[in-house]
Each structure stands twice: as C-alpha cells, then as structure tokens.
C-alpha cells in the first residue's frame, strides 16, 4: 500500500467520476469531488477548498462536454496548476471517445450554446462508464507507472462487474421496451437509449428554463396521449412541479439520481445504477 503522501491526488468535477476514480485507484489515489451529488451540476458554488484541491491535484477528471463550463474555468484560473490545465498531463476529459447524443445541427445562439458539444449526461449509459474507466486507468498508469498493475487489476474487476450488472439491468428493464418516461431535464437520454426506453418529454421547456403553464399543459396532454405513467425527478430538481403534473395525470413520481450518493445507499457507480434501474423498473411495472 502506498502512503497517502505518495498517492495520486485526483479531483473529480462530479461524483460519478469520483466514484470511477476510486474504483480504479483504490488505495493508491486520494479522490476529492467538487460537486455534491444533490447539487445541480450546471451550477456549483465555489468554495476555498475547491481551489485548494485543484491547486494540489495531479489529475482532474471532468465531463468535457460543457456541463461544468459555468464554474470550472474560473476555479482553474484561481488554482493555477499547469498539470491539470487544458492539455496538461493530468487532465481527463471523460467524453473523449464517447458518441454524444443531441449534438445541435445548427449552432444558433438563440437556442443557447450551453451544451454545443451535445448532451453531457452520457454517464447514465453504463456502456460509457467502461470507456471512462479505461481512460482513467490509462492516465493513472502514465502518471504513476509503479502502481499500474494495481490500477489495471481494479479496472478489470470494475469492467467485469459492470458487464455482469449490465445483463441484470437489461433483464430488469426488458419488459418495458419502448415505454416512455417524463423527466425534468434531458438527463436520461443515454439511459433510455441503452435500455430501450423513450425519453423525449421534459418538464423544462428548454434546458435551464423553469416550466411555464402552457408547457406543462402540453406535457400533461402528451402524458395522457402516450399513456406515460412515470415522472423521474432528481434531488436538485423541482419535485413540486413533478408532483403537480403526476397528480393531474395519475402518474407516479420516481426519485432517481445521476450521481452516486444522491440516493440513500448509493456510494458507488454500480450501486447508483442498481438503485435507479430498480426504482424505474418498479414504477413502470405498476
């Protein structure tokens, strides 16, 4: 076991990357996660500890698809750490090598350019978790060759469990192929694509814009027409809105989360997906 002083210092922007880093790094790394699992990842309030962690980090794992565009760059500017600046040896852009959904066809500013790169919630497809785990393992090996065999062992174990779990999850959701769900924000597009669900009705009229009455009326009409019985809501989203819509349409509100730790008993990535799949399958089965 390496002492904590020699360990790689890893900073993850959001908790799912922190969970992957812990799964791959084990005792050899010290992981700090900036966003809390119950916090909206588009908006994270800067604290002194964030800048300190970034200034000392060997590795920074970020989504790389603009999700953190509002708050990460100024933190990095404050931290002045060349190792993790863009192009630095310790900078991991998780989205590298991942096919992003919903890439805007035309870059029109009236639609906003928050996520010009595409939908950044790709970690909700467990298939992408494997790509990120491989990527993280490569970077750890490059920076800490001495522990590389340990990292690779952890990666293989993670990938093996993931593959086994993938079978379980697919089986649990198999009876609900083509079933639509309503979500607050387009967070569950990748999850839906992976498991054969349909996610294209959102409580928000546009990403980041609070729901307006005409939009909610339209959502409720779609729910009645398409017989949508499930509304997914995350800890930092408006449960009130979800409940109001569900009550009027006889649907069920389901608490889910895209981040490990955001639901009780979901310390790591696999436990989180377990909980999400279970909650969604049980609601769809009603």
């Amino acid at each position: 076991m390496t002492s904590l002083l020699l360990a790689l210092k890893v900073v993850a922007t959001t908790p799912e990357y922190g969970a992957i880093a812990t799964a791959i790094g084990g005792d050899q790394v010290k992981v700090t996660t900036l966003a809390k699992p119950t916090e909206d990842p588009h908006f994270v309030d800067a604290k002194p500890s964030h800048i300190v962690a970034l200034s000392k980090a060997d590795v920074l794992i970020e989504g790389g698809a603009d999700l953190e565009a509002g708050w990460l760059p100024p933190l990095l500017e404050g931290a002045r750490n060349a190792k993790i600046n863009a192009g630095g040896p310790g900078r991991v852009r998780a989205s590298e090598g991942i096919q992003l959904l919903d890439v805007p066809q035309v870059l029109d500013r009236s639609l906003g350019d928050l996520h010009a790169a595409g939908n950044p919630h790709f970690m909700m497809d467990p298939g992408n978790a494997k790509i990120v785990a491989d990527h993280v393992c490569d970077v750890f090996c490059k920076l800490d060759a001495g522990s590389c065999s340990a990292y690779e062992k952890n990666r293989d174990a993670f990938n093996a469990t993931l593959a086994a779990k993938m079978g379980e999850w697919s089986k649990a959701l198999a009876p609900f192929q083509g079933k639509p769900v309503v979500t607050y924000h387009p967070t569950w597009r990748y999850f839906a694509a992976r498991f054969g669900l349909v996610s294209d009705v959102y409580l928000e009229p546009k990403p980041g814009i609070p729901p307006s009455p005409p939009h909610l009326a339209e959502v409720m009409q779609k729910m009645t027409e398409q017989k949508i019985g499930v509304v997914l809501v995350e800890p930092f989203q408006s449960r009130k809105t979800a409940e109001a819509v569900a009550q009027r349409t006889g649907a069920t509100v389901v608490d889910v989360c895209q981040f490990p730790g955001g639901l009780p008993g979901t310390g790591d990535y696999l436990a989180l997906l377990d909980a999400d799949v279970k909650a969604i399958a049980s609601a769809l089965g009603k």
């Binding site: 908006f43 800067a46 002194p48 200034s55 100024p74 500017e77 404050g78 639609l111 906003g112």
Partner: protein, 285 residues
C-alpha cells in the same frame, strides 16, 4: 504563502474596492433607501437579459455591457424622478416595485433563451473567490474615477443626502444632481455585484454606514469607522473560510456573517459609550 498565491486577488478585491461602497452607504442609509442597490443591480441585469434575448453573448459581445449601462442610467433617471418632495408614498415602496418588476421582466425576457438562467446567475451571484486580476484592476480604475467625481463635488452630494431643505433653498436642481448620484452609484453597484454577489454588496453598503452612525455624529468619523469595519469584516471572513479547512465554509456567506458580528460589536460599543456619557446627541451635516 498560500495566501499570496491562491488568494491574492480576492484579498486585494476586498481591500481596494469596498471603500467607495462604504461612502455610498452613508448616503443610502441617510436617505433611507436601503434596497436601492438591489433594485439597480436588478435593472442592470435586465439590460443584460435583453441583450441575451437579442442573441448577444455575455463575455464576448459588447451589447450586454452597453445595455446594462443604458438600463442602469434609465434606473438612475427613474429613481431621481420618483424622489417626491412630500412623500405620502415612501420612496422605498417604489424601489421595491422596481426591483420585483425588473426581476420578473428578466425572467420573461429570458423565457425563450436557453442560456438565460446562467446569464442572470452570473450577473447577480458573483463570487469573490473567483475574481481575476483583470476584474480587480478594471473595477478599481472605475471606482477611482467615480470617487474623484464625488470628491470634487462632495458638498453638493452631501447636501442632497443630508440636508435636502438647504439644497432646495439654494435652488439646486435636485433631479439633475440626484440623477448624477444614482448614475455613479448604479455603476459602482453593478460592477461590484459581478465580483461579489448581491449579499456582499448589501453588507458592504449598509453595515459599515450603520456602524458609523451608531458611533459618531460626524460624517468624516463615520466614513473612517465604516472603512475599518469593512476591512476587518471582509478580510476576517476570507481568512475564516480559507483557514477553517474542516468547516469548509463558502467565502461570501462567511463575510456576510462577519459583518453581522461587526454590527453587534459596534452596538455594544455604543451602549458602553452611552453608559459612560461620552456621546452627545447631535446631527451630523
């Protein structure tokens, strides 16, 4: 040494910039228009929102900056125009209405843009930890300019806030001078708000001025007391949030609470001095 590398610019921002806010605070408290800063910041934000709705991009295009300036000046005009001579309606109520209407209008204007929320948030929720060298220097330059205007014309401005009757007797155009006051004040508030956020602007304006008023009838002494309070509260708030690693406190709210503590201390000091009979009642002007 960490303080000089990681926290140098936040520290300098808290040392260099609040001086002007404290000065404006004396005016604002004396005029009894405590929430005017929030209203002006919100009007400026509305300007940026209109620019965003027109397709401009904050940080890249000039339009948001230009419109925030134009809206600030419009707001200044509005506040100068609504200063009634014998107010049956307190001006504070007009200020409140302007605040909520511009906040709501901003939401309406942005309801058709995707990045609206972010633009609005960036404008009103600055975070002093993230301030850059450029921002500190630019804002300091602007503040020095505004301070120079107020230093040159201090008699007029002080008379307007502290002795309106005298100003009327001398036939000074209250509307014109009020407009100049609100315009310079608006510029100050809207640039400071982007660095520190609304809560801090409010604290810097009100608490030092109130502390000064508690402890002294003289304007100069109040200003000096206010500056000391602002420096002590700001720097101790930053130091606490940086040094208390186990607590990991966000900086802005920590500073605001230090201001609260400073006000309590000043209140106790006032009681003690009153008890020993050294303060005489009086009106400073």
């Amino acid at each position: 040494m960490e303080i000089l590398t990681l926290w140098l610019w936040p520290l300098l921002a808290l040392i260099l910039l609040p001086g002007l806010l404290v000065y404006f605070g004396l005016h604002v408290v004396e005029r009894g228009i405590i929430f005017v800063d929030l209203a002006l910041a919100q009007i400026a934000a509305l300007g940026v929102c209109v620019a965003v709705a027109l397709g401009a991009h904050p940080g890249h295009d000039a339009l948001p900056w230009v419109l925030s300036l134009v809206f600030t000046l419009l707001g200044a005009g509005l506040f100068a125009w609504t200063r009634f001579r014998h107010p049956r309606v307190p001006q504070e109520s007009i200020i409140g209405v302007i605040y909520v209407v511009s906040a709501a209008a901003a939401t309406l204007v942005l309801s058709h843009t995707a990045e609206g929320d972010e633009a609005l948030k960036n404008l009103l929720v600055g975070n002093v930890l993230l301030v850059t060298k450029g921002e500190v220097l630019r804002t300091f330059g602007l503040f020095v300019g505004i301070a120079a205007v107020h230093l040159l014309l201090r008699r007029r401005f002080l008379m307007l806030s502290f002795d309106e009757e005298a100003a009327r007797r001398q036939g000074i155009s209250i509307r014109t001078w009020d407009f100049l006051f609100y315009a310079t004040f608006g510029l100050t508030v809207t640039s400071f708000v982007q660095i520190t956020g609304v809560y801090l602007v409010f604290s810097y304006l009100i608490v030092p001025a109130v502390c000064g008023a508690l402890l002294s009838p003289r304007i100069r002494t109040r200003l000096a007391i206010g500056w000391v309070v602002a420096l002590v509260a700001g720097i101790s708030g930053l130091a606490l949030s940086v040094k208390l690693e186990s607590a990991d406190l966000p900086t802005g709210p920590t500073i605001v609470c230090c201001f609260g503590a400073a006000l309590i201390v000043c209140g106790i000091l006032m009681r003690l001095r009153k008890g020993s009979g050294t303060v005489s009642a009086g009106n400073g002007a």
